[in-house]
Amino acid sequence: MKLYCLSGHPTLPCNVLKFKSTTIMLDCGLDMTSTLNFLPLPLVQSPRLSKLPGLVLKDGSTFLDKELKECSGHVFVDSVPEFCLPETELLDLSTVDVILISNYHCMMALPYITEYTGFTGTVYATEPTVQIGRLLMEELVNSIERVPKAQSASTWKNKEVQRLLPAPLKDAVEVSMWRKCYTMPEVNAALSKIQLVGYSQKIELFGAVQVTPLSSGYALGSSNWIIQSHYEKVSYVSGSSLLTTHPQPMDQASLKNSDVLILTGLTQIPTANPDGMVGEFCSNLAMTVRNGGNVLVPCYPSGVIYDLLECLYQYIDSAGLSNVPFYFISPVANSSLEFSQIFAEWLCHNKQTKVYLPEPPFPHAELIQTNKLKHYPSIHGDFSNDFKQPCVIFTGHPSLRFGDVVHFMELWGKSSLNTVIFTEPDFSYLDALAPYQPLAMKCVYCPIDTRLNFIQVSKLLKEVQPLHVVCPEQYTQPPPSQSHRTDLMIDCQPPPMSYRRAEVLTLPYKRRYEKIEIMPELADSLVPLEIKPGISLATVSAMLHTKDNKHVLQLPPKPPQPPTSKKRKRVSDDVPECKPLKPLLSGSIPVDQFVQTLEK
């Protein structure tokens, strides 16, 4: 059993597990933090961004000034944003049999894998994962494609050149592997390879391995996976949550008795309490609006936004915000809001009960009906007519590098009345804001990450008792910024095995048994002998049939007639290939009786 680690990002994992005769890819997350090194893509030409000075190197050379721009002491690449792909050289990805997706955030690299590596297998994911994953990809492609950028910078990627650059560009890893965004046809092709699965559905892979998705409690349709044969069980835990938000709660019991538990996707903000953050979010929002400012919430079009809207639904009347317009701008805003209402089976119990009434499970249906929440595909068209300030806008992308959020950052950045509230934990808010500096706008950081924290992890591990734990190396030491917090790491016995990007781990597990079926006819012919009380033995000589990794024992064919003619010279004819084997002898010998018999 081997684990190939293709991603260095602990919450956007991409691992390949070789187990028995199968090659299984676990998630294919796309590391988008690389986009933070790029200049934002404004929908309308931004005079400020176009006037940024080009980079002058320490030695005074200016050959990079077209590609790299400086803004408030940071250097940015002036090009179409690029993403850091999972490792593609560590093993031949065309040999991957199946890809298991745990949640819609962890499938963003799928088109790169399925369309560029010769992949011919199947992808398994739940229906909400696929539908919302498609929305995320659509939004991503849309917001990058609608701002065609003439130039694509590549000189700076040259190793010799990169060495000369200031940090963080100098230290950026694998820049040669960075790729531009995929296209919609590629997304569609990738998604067409997905087969839908439901929680606790047992899926046979080549008869050798069985995989099962389990509810992980983090997002709509998010799953952990059990990969097992008759004797071995590997649990893949990725992006799980024990908090009660909208998704179905996490299924912990089924993770018990694992030989190996691969643990990824823990909270990125272990010190923040999501409930407290939501409270802070609401109060900051209210305060800004009351003072006549606008609130910008950079977010993904699905996920935490449903919870935020639900909180606001309960909060706006009491906070006197009922007249403030809430806008949700995304090419997939409408689809996301509609889809959230039809996945009753994937929701928590409270929401399911509402559907049984029948009522929409999420209150944003009511917000839309009462015109408190309006959604638009983009800032063009209807939105420009309806736009009223002060207002609250939810829009993407949380990296602040593309999408309509860029427009509002430019528009509102100069006024200290306005506030931008960061709720998505995927990007460092300081880095995200860097190309907009200097900024008068208020910035509030309320990261809401409902994934497991370290206390919950140690409780979980105590509960499910895996023999071995495997996790990204980041989880085996305290975060670099808080090196004294030894509580912010995984603590278990035996200590977890850790992996880093481009590493291959041999998992400590040895298989000893395999399942085989004895056909009823053969079973009838067996002669068991009780050797010790309760223990019987039977000698088995049978034909072994192996098909689709399933082994079956059948009655051997009748031995051919023993040769009567001694003239035949070919010994191999005389001694048939399938000669029955004489059993080993054991037991006590009744000597007297034996001798008596001989005497006769």
Binding site: E345, Q352, Y513, E514, I518, S541, M543, L544, D574, K582
Partner: protein, 582 residues
Amino acid sequence: MGSRQFLFLKGKKEKFFCFAEGFEEVKRAVRTRQSNLLCNVFILSVSCSHFHLDHCGALPYFSEMVGYDGPIYMTHPTKAICPILLEDYRKITVDKKGETNFFTSQMIKDCMKKVVAVHLHQTVQVDEELEIKAYYAGHVLGAAMFQIKVGCESVVYTGDYNMTPDRHLGAAWIDKCRPDLLITESTYATTIRDSKRCRERDFLKKVHETVERGGKVLIPVFALGRAQELCILLETFWERMNLKAPIYFSTGLTEKANHYYKLFITWTNQKIRKTFVQRNMFEFKHIKAFDRAFADNPGPMVVFATPGMLHAGQSLQIFRKWAGNEKNMVIMPGYCVQGTVGHKILSGQRKLEMEGRQILEVKMQVEYMSFSAHADAKGIMQLIRQAEPRNVLLVHGEAKKMEFLKQKIEQEFHVNCYMPANGETTTIFTNPSIPVDISLGLLKRETAIGLLPDAKKPKLMHGTLIMKDNSFRLVSPEQALKELGLAEHQLRFTCRVHIQDPRKEHETVLRVYNHLKGVLKDYSVQHLPDGSITVESILIQATAHSEDQGTKVLLVSWTYQDEELGSYLTSLLKKGLPQSTS
């Protein structure tokens, strides 16, 4: 249309599995001889295939009045809709008909609390042996077929299903799960219904003609199921033809029902699912809620009204109002039970006796159109082809038609097909293989032997099966002995073969060696430095005869395990050596 009840016995331990069915039938069953079986100990689980009352009507009675307290399984839509229909059923039976020995509203609520909702394809472990799995069945929203598995034996119960996708639902589907028994409904055992499109065109034509000539169309329906399909059909037709006549559906259930369809849109067919964001097919533009007063409005209209068999309620009221006018039409889209007004008019009766001895003369046109979504003969065969069962059991339907289908199934699939009468017990024998643990060492050794180019070719393997407290392990004989702490005995056979050969001993040995090497090409024949020969594990030594130097004695010794080769060798040597050429 399922109105029977099944119990079966399976597995190592006795297990009963019950498919909840109609109220009256279960009640009868409880009263009669099966009652002793219906105690909690035996029934492990109940699964409810869909929300039609003939499939779930007895649930509260069963769980709250008989005392069943095990789990009940349903899909989410069934769980959502079922209590509403039950409550409706209760109201009609208790409040209108005055039945007393019936379940209460509270019982419905308590019963629903015991329901476990299942996903499609989810494997539910009921206990350590029994697992169930639901498959999509088409028929109505949330309808499911259930697979029940105990060890390696399995049964599939279809409930009602539909193998052709319709305007709002997809087709039933099952994987090649090869159950030991497939229990399928056979309501339309011999019918191969004319194509869906024809029926739809026919329906639209009739409605259109009636409306054109200013008549009113009454379509008695059950609240959920066909109603939605016909609504979609009329809605799209109205839009295409730009018709203005109003369409209504009767209040209450149907309106609410459409809401269920909107929220459970993932259970509908692919087309509706794909387009629901742009246009939700269950948000009707042309179809409005019905008000009692509308029935007397002049001019044409189309009304969907419940219930479907014209036996009570709004549909019957409207029917009475409109029956006298030959311009009007009633379209019965489904089957009607004997004794109902629907059944009477379908069988041609035109003078009906209503309560109060009133005679109602039916002048309006009466049309019957089968839209009920059951699998027809073709569909049943298709399902059997998909699932590849070892036995088939037919339920529901007329015996003659079932007999025909039974023959067809036996002919085409060469499997046993049963059609037990009500109350009859069918015993089906299965012959399951026995799963055993094989040590990987043995398996690998056996597959490695010979390393034939064709690795898939069956090979002979030898091992010892250890049976200990219900566990079966197949290991190599050596390992078995070691594990059990048994000493191995060596049984050797020794045989002397006399050979006339005047030469010296070592030369004789050499001749024997060359001879054997020539004959036994596939075996390892070795000449050891101490002067002996080995063929595999068989030892051959030569000594001069103590009395006759011209006779050499060959001592052949082999173990019990090599008996065949050993005796073959002796007989070979007894024939003497070939004349030496040297």
